[in-house]
């Protein structure tokens, strides 16, 4: 929360945490200082279930460029899978 840059979105799907698969209902996307990644700033994505225990979380810290690459990959896969290419 050093930057205050955070976007939440509702999601539906599943994530795999330390105790196995669990249902997801929220993705929290922030741009902040990472805990672990060797970068000054990162895009931090937490896939969460608000009603489950706190460890029901899948977290990634991506360098800004790799976050952009991920967005492109997601859009490309959606485009191909849904036949809109």
């Amino acid at each position: 929360m050093c930057t205050g840059i955070m976007e939440n979105t509702r999601v539906a799907g599943s994530g795999k945490g330390p105790h196995g698969w669990f249902p997801l209902n929220q993705a929290s996307v922030s741009y902040d200082h990472p805990d672990h990644a060797r970068a000054e700033r990162a895009v931090i994505i937490d896939f969460l279930n608000e009603t489950a225990e706190p460890e029901s979380r899948v977290s990634v810290e991506l360098t800004p460029q790799s976050a952009r690459n991920l967005v492109q990959a997601i859009l490309a896969s959606l485009s191909r899978g849904e036949g809109t290419l």
């Binding site: 929360m1 050093c2 929290s28 200082h33 937490d46 969460l48 706190p54 979380r57």
Partner: protein
């Protein structure tokens, strides 16, 4: 800076305790203190955005080692209990804690320290990262602290677009109410806050005739005290810690 000899006695106790929090809540805190009757100065540590974690426990003990009654309240208690990084993620998703909650929690910890029979009556405030911002905020909105140390607190300067119901006022706008001397440590390569924002804050402190020291370290970014993160800068961290203890000794005194 507090020095000690090889032949002196030293002991401390460090444990989790329950203390009053904002609005009549009871929250957990990590409390480390030197053994003995003192009197000792006190320090309240506000933990950073990564959570109420091991680094803050270590730092709490570090202050006790240097002769302070040191307490670090869990300001994320409202998000439940679990691994610190998981609770920090819940806090992050919720947009953090509100400024009112932090001010209330820290005010209660200040009262707790001052009520102790070992207290010398002087108390400092310390925070890094998001807690650097909160340290400045609390030092402006609370009376009773005798010195405050803001380490690289971002968002002291905030645009209108950054204000939220939880953070409705930019801390810089409280500068005229700053109630104690302020030490600020920053990295020249940091972007949260930028050197320009630090300079803007310094201008405001000058404008209101506040007692402060700001140090902006070259070749350092954000969080340069954190030895377990890539932003650690040994030379700047050693000098920064010396400045912290010198500053607190000046305004809080030392243990007898």
């Amino acid at each position: 800076m507090h020095m000690y000899r090889t032949d002196m006695y030293e002991g401390m106790i460090a444990e989790t305790v329950m203390v009053p929090g904002h609005n009549g809540t009871v929250i957990n805190a990590y409390f480390a203190r030197p053994l003995g009757s003192g009197p000792f100065p006190g320090v309240v540590l506000i933990h950073h955005a990564p959570g109420w974690d091991e680094w803050y426990r270590e730092t709490t003990r570090k202050f006790a080692h240097h002769g302070y009654l040191a307490i670090s309240p869990n300001i994320y208690y409202q998000f439940g209990h679990g691994a610190p990084e998981d609770i920090a993620a819940k806090a992050r998703a919720a947009g953090g804690v509100s400024d009112d909650d932090v001010v209330g929690d820290i005010r209660e910890s200040l009262g707790y320290l001052k009520s102790l029979p070992q207290s010398n009556g002087k108390t400092g405030l310390f925070g890094t990262c998001s807690a650097g911002r909160q340290t400045f905020l609390v030092a402006c909105r609370t009376k009773g602290f005798d010195a405050a140390v803001d380490c690289w607190g971002g968002r002291v300067v905030m645009s209108q677009q950054e204000l939220t119901p939880k953070h409705p006022v930019a801390p810089i706008d409280y500068t005229k109410d700053l109630s104690c001397p302020l030490l600020g440590l920053f990295g020249e390569e940091d972007q949260f806050p930028t050197p320009q924002q630090v300079a803007q804050h310094e201008q405001e402190l000058k404008k209101y005739g506040k007692t402060y020291e700001f140090h902006v370290y070259p070749k350092a970014g954000h969080g340069f005290f954190y030895y377990d993160r890539s932003g650690y800068r040994q030379e700047q961290a050693v000098d920064g810690w010396n400045k912290v203890f010198t500053f607190f000794e000046k305004y809080l005194g030392t243990a007898d």
